[in-house]
Symmetry: C2
């Protein structure tokens, strides 16, 4: 029998759950208050659904579920695949399948909130686990930019609330559009087939810089001229270039006017955000890893904490892959739950206590026939709004009280045989 | 791409989530109010931990996780096991491992609340799925019956709240003790080794009746006399036999006096339960499937709805299997979340709306530059406490409004370009 969790997995202690629960409560309260409805998809998905969805490197990190009984025997004998299902590596692929499967039972446009674990067989490291929680909001069946704006605004409200509570300063929403990125690649002379790979290289900009991206593209065998033309677009961009100025470089009509209008509308959100510390900026080097995005893409960063705490975008073509016929408009924002937990841990934030906590410590010598009365007494205390825990008194009572104080208990009543 | 969920799995629709969320909220509010602290264990466990824990038939229903990369290749070449980890089939085995692993970081006695999915490859049927939610409360490190009483009382408060809200009538807690069952088997002449199997047969009493149990025991090759003596104990018991009268049949000292005192204390809970509709009865035929119980065992039924909605007991020997040395006292009660959801569905219960719901329906012709203003208006409405959802207006607006009314929306504002 092994007592340490499976490699890359973790146990969550009561004290750590307090912070997680605080974060979950905010996400649920704000998102459902804005009309996002909770849904759930199963943890196990068809392997074929997970293996061909532009999921990028996540697809190489899948935990497969072994076939069972006769079908396992058959697979072994025939040298066939040992698995036809696997644990989901994100919530977007299952959501897309879900929408296709339940189109008849749900009303669109639909705003969903999905919170649940996902699994990736990444090399474990500090703060990175093989099972972790994702929180996704999605707007399904809405083709206008109202969807992006609603989802970005709601996400920023959630993150602002957390920043306010914990004393973390401002938020920045980074905005770009897949169609602008493709127009930029096309302007530089890359073919449609080449664009996907080129953008994956550009995505590394924040780690290796534009010179690193240039080198990688040249290493991939792309010509000097194309690569130079592409990189220079972003060199000239620098900080704070307007969407209009960036797109003007690509030539008249390279990016449709409606795309610019949509992005302008998203930028205008800045004035509507309740938080005074949130800004929305155009970031032409923002790529997002997944190839399934079709329109605006966005990330949110907490000032002073590097990598993003939320990311998403429009993916109008993905549900159609499951429904087999029509495309269904879709747009999502995924909150980096674990990343935020890490940041809150780093700043030493502890959620405020909202309820008085009382411990009734029952001495071992109290006769059993008195126990029911102790439990009734606890009820009476609860009636006044307190959290009341009845506990056997530990031998080292002082240590027990100290630990309970660490969990927010402020009142102790010791019950003796009399 | 397959759009139907993997066999035995299910998608949970927004309307179904409302009921599930209502139930979860009650469990969390009552349990944490009584001092139970939330914890989490990973979904994936060591296969060896799941395969030898008196988990009964659950152990045959395990979903195994395929090894990866080099270790999979090695396993195939060597004809070794293709998996060394698997999805948990309950929350008790992972909890026991958790306590052993984290003994240095947690304070005992510890009261835990664990809510999470488990997986069993059962034959799917109506209301039974291969992934389902379990809600477990456990008291760890408390050897007195105060633990059982606290956990039973808290569970009954949860179930009573649900019964009150939904108009379902009374609850019955069924109580027995593993030590009484073993004494009964011993009294009839069964050896210690035989007792486990005998009790598994007795457990079928509610399905096949005492005559069925008698037949099964005879089929297993046990002698007429032993079987007759054993069955007659329960025949004489009938309804409402007292613990004292049942144990008197087994002879002086067959059951220790402290066991009877503990059970009496649990029975006395009936007077302390806030619900007037809950009773506690001694049920000598109650067995519980798992062999890991060591003391009191209990189940809770909702009057008129047959099978139990919660079950648990004391299991003082299980954590010791993981910690490798000392036994740690433990006692748990698992709420049958999915069973309760089915019952609430059968009686047609809908959770009460606690918040006004407003939909702002935005016509397609409203120009994008007006969207930010609409979102600000929604914020203003939210400030008054309402849930406000901004949605694109559907082409069939009347149908959209009807569907939203079905989700509890009562106020609609249509926004046109004007």
């Amino acid at each position: 029998m092994k007592k340490i969790p499976v490699r890359g997995m973790r146990d969550i202690l009561p004290t750590d759950m307090v912070l997680r629960q605080y974060l979950l409560d905010i996400v649920e309260r704000v998102a459902t208050g804005a009309g996002y409805q909770k849904i759930e998809t199963p943890a196990i998905e068809h392997l074929e659904n997970l293996s061909s969805n532009d999921g990028g490197e996540n697809e190489t990190l899948i935990f497969k579920v072994l076939k069972r009984g006769r079908s396992l025997e058959k697979a072994i004998d025939a040298g066939e695949s040992l698995a036809d299902s696997a644990l989901r590596y994100d919530l977007t692929v299952p959501l897309s399948r879900y929408i296709a499967a339940n189109a008849g039972s749900i009303s669109m446009p639909l705003k969903t909130l999905q919170i649940g674990p996902v699994w990736r067989a990444d090399a474990p490291q500090k703060g990175r686990f093989r099972q972790f929680l994702q929180c996704d909001m999605d707007v399904i069946g809405a083709s206008t930019v109202l969807a992006e704006m609603d989802i970005i605004k709601t996400t920023v409200e959630i993150l602002s609330k957390i920043c306010n509570d914990s004393g973390i300063s401002g938020l920045t929403v980074h905005l770009n559009d897949r169609r602008i990125l493709l127009a930029a690649a096309s302007y530089a002379g890359f073919s449609e087939e080449e664009s996907g790979g080129v953008l994956i290289s550009l995505d590394k900009n924040d780690k290796i810089g534009l010179e690193g991206v240039r080198k990688e593209l040249l290493d991939h065998g792309f010509g000097d001229e194309k690569v130079g033309k592409f990189i220079s677009l972003f060199e000239r961009a620098g900080e704070g270039i307007s969407i209009f100025d960036f797109c003007r470089q690509l030539g008249e009509g390279a990016v449709e006017g409606s795309v610019l209008e949509d992005l302008d509308a998203i930028m205008s959100l800045e004035d509507s955000l309740q938080s005074e510390n949130a800004s929305v900026i155009f970031d032409p080097t923002l790529v997002r890893g997944m190839g399934y995005y079709t329109g605006p893409i966005f990330e949110c960063t907490v000032d002073g904490f590097g990598s993003s705490v939320a990311g998403g975008g429009r993916y109008d073509k993905m549900i159609g892959k499951f429904s087999g016929n029509v495309d269904i408009a879709a747009c999502g924002f995924s909150i980096g739950f674990e990343r935020i937990i890490t940041i809150l841990g780093d700043v030493g934030f502890t959620p405020p206590n909202t309820q008085e906590r009382v411990a009734l410590l029952v001495d071992r010598k109290v006769p059993v026939e008195k126990y029911a009365q102790v439990l009734r007494d606890a009820d009476d205390l609860r009636a006044s709004g307190a959290l009341v825990s009845v506990l056997p008194m530990a031998k080292n009572t002082r240590h027990q009280v100290e630990l309970l104080e660490g969990s927010g208990y402020t009142r102790f009543e010791k019950i003796y045989a009399n």
